[in-house]
């Protein structure tokens, strides 16, 4: 049995990091993830971890320090949000292309500008093609569980990719909620010791990391990264199975909530999925067959599995907490609809951009989306597949 606790999402992430006890943590504080390195530095100060904590002067340096540490053969972690991730941008790609299984806690926040400290997913969506594994978390429990599983996925020799665990800034990072923690010893055993095959500090095998890689090799190296991302799918499922044996908590690529017999479904990520479950229950009590697909694994993208899971719906809505500003529809929508098309599953689909800059996502808003889906089923018509909810119109207060 686990340990019954109540923690904020940031406390949960910091607790997972304490239990993992990585060799190096390098971080620079930024709202709303600041508390993670803050709590972690107290663990370092009071000796409950033996991590080398590097208080760097910027996020670019935080990621650089993690890359240096990981290349040397150490297990490295960091945490950031929004513009902190933007400043890491250059090194984010270097981390993945050097195949360094760094683990990051990304507390999602709107990327400036104008300046906003609140939640949306624009930070995560900006790095969706950078070669990082990306896991999303509905609540503090999932933010914690995903971090506990992270190293076993990232460090697998068929994967060797960095991994970020996302959770919603403030909404879950600063909300105190119930959580079931795993005993320290069990986490230690589950995560295991990091034994890299090739590393800089191995005097038996002198290697170079990150040299010039021109026309004759870069393409092949990128293809190997792409292959590793494909391999990650099975590893993610295998690790989830082991995790379930330890905790009883089941994880897959996504959670299907009352999707088996639903006719209309929402696809979304992070805390909105919790609010959507509340609405699904409400609609079910009125006899409306609503369902939810909550995506956990955004990268690698489980295209075939998603297409299969949504194949029998009569209409679906994909919710994006970041606007791609491309006049066509946002990232998750594009990925889901492309997955459906390629797998020859044709279900009417609409995209809603919502919650930008911390605009609160109300149960009523979600209910309205299901109403719209019922209308689409009835009329068979979609006037505009790329829409908003929660956006004020002229004259609204």
């Amino acid at each position: 049995m686990g340990i019954r606790e109540r923690l904020s999402g940031n406390e949960a992430a910091a607790t997972a990091m304490r239990q993992i006890n990585p060799d190096v943590v390098a971080a620079f504080p930024i709202t709303p993830s600041t508390e993670i390195p803050q709590y972690f530095s107290t663990f370092v100060a009071n000796g409950s971890v033996d991590t080398e904590f590097v208080a760097v002067e910027s996020e670019h340096s935080a990621m650089s320090a993690c890359i240096g540490a990981e290349a040397a053969g150490a297990r490295a972690m960091t945490a950031t949000s929004a513009n902190g991730l933007s400043l890491m941008w250059e090194m984010i790609y270097i981390a993945s292309s050097l195949r360094l299984p760094i683990v990051m806690s990304l507390v999602n926040r709107a990327v400036s500008g104008p300046l906003n400290i609140h939640n949306d997913h624009s930070d995560a969506m900006g790095v969706r093609d950078s070669g990082w594994i990306m896991l999303f978390s509905e609540n503090n429990q999932e933010a914690y569980d995903n971090l506990i599983m992270a190293h076993k996925i990232a460090e697998n020799e068929n994967v060797l990719l960095p991994l970020m665990v996302c959770q919603d800034g403030f909404i879950t990072s600063h909300s105190i909620e119930n959580i079931e923690l795993i005993e320290d010893e069990k986490v230690k055993e589950f995560v295991g010791t990091y034994k890299p095959k090739h590393y800089l500090l191995n005097k038996e095998e002198p290697i170079a990391v990150g040299p010039l890689d021109l026309q004759s090799y870069l393409f092949e190296h990128k293809a190997m990264q792409a292959e590793a991302m494909k391999n990650a799918k099975q590893v993610i499922l295998d690790v989830a199975k082991d995790f379930e044996k330890m905790t009883g908590r089941k994880y897959g690529f996504f959670e299907e909530y009352k999707l088996e017999d639903s006719e209309i479904a929402i696809v979304c990520m992070n805390s909105t999925a919790g609010t959507t479950k509340y609405v699904v229950d409400k609609l079910r009590s009125k006899g409306i067959k609503a369902g939810l697909l909550k995506l956990r694994v955004f990268r690698p993208f489980p295209a075939e599995e998603i297409a299969k899971a949504l194949a029998n719906q009569k209409a679906i809505a994909i919710l994006d907490k970041a606007d791609s500003l491309n006049a066509a529809g946002s990232a998750l929508f594009q990925d889901v609809t492309s997955a459906m098309y390629v797998n020859n599953k044709h279900v009417p689909a609409v995209n809603y951009v919502y919650g930008i800059g911390g605009r609160d996502t109300k149960a009523d808003d979600i209910e309205k989306v299901y109403d719209d889906l019922l209308e689409i089923v009835k009329t068979g018509k979609i006037d505009n597949p790329y829409r908003y909810f929660g956006l004020r119109k002229e004259g609204d207060k």
């Binding site: 105190i176 919790g274 509340y278 996502t361 109300k362």
Partner: protein
Amino acid sequence: MDNLLEIRWHGRGGQGAKTASLLLADAAFNTGKYIQGFPEYGPERMGAPITAYNRISSKPITIHSNIYEPDYVVVVDDTLLESVDVTSGLKETGAIVINTTKSADYLRKVLKGYKGEIYTIDARKISEEALGRYFPNTPMLAAIVKVSKIMTDEELLNDMKGSFKHKFAKKPEVIEGNMKALELALKEVKKI
């Protein structure tokens, strides 16, 4: 208590409304409940109006929005009554608890005909008597527990004793005063 109980706190930055909501979450957690405690973060500074929230249930809570139709509202500072719509969405089957010495007539008027129960407490007097300083959050915590019956007086007092010991480990001299503030508040909150 099977159903979801939702509480909204109105205070001013620096008065401890956020801390009170977290303490309430803690206390309810310790009686075996599922809880949420979260503030609405804005450009906070001393004296600015702030809002904090609690959800308490015997079942897991999945909803992650702010609270628009609370069962209870706690007003930590009565100067907010004329500038913030504190009863917005407040259920008539619920109640509002206000830290005030203002008259019942004034309160009814400023609450624009709210039909639910209205409770008042003089948290300033209690705090100054028990702690020698004005910290309204401890009395308000006791008041909302009393009114909402989330737990018994005894459960609250036992639990808070443990919390205060932890919270004030470095200044144990304030524990007794805070306990006294809770006890006084449990007695003095009254319906108008």
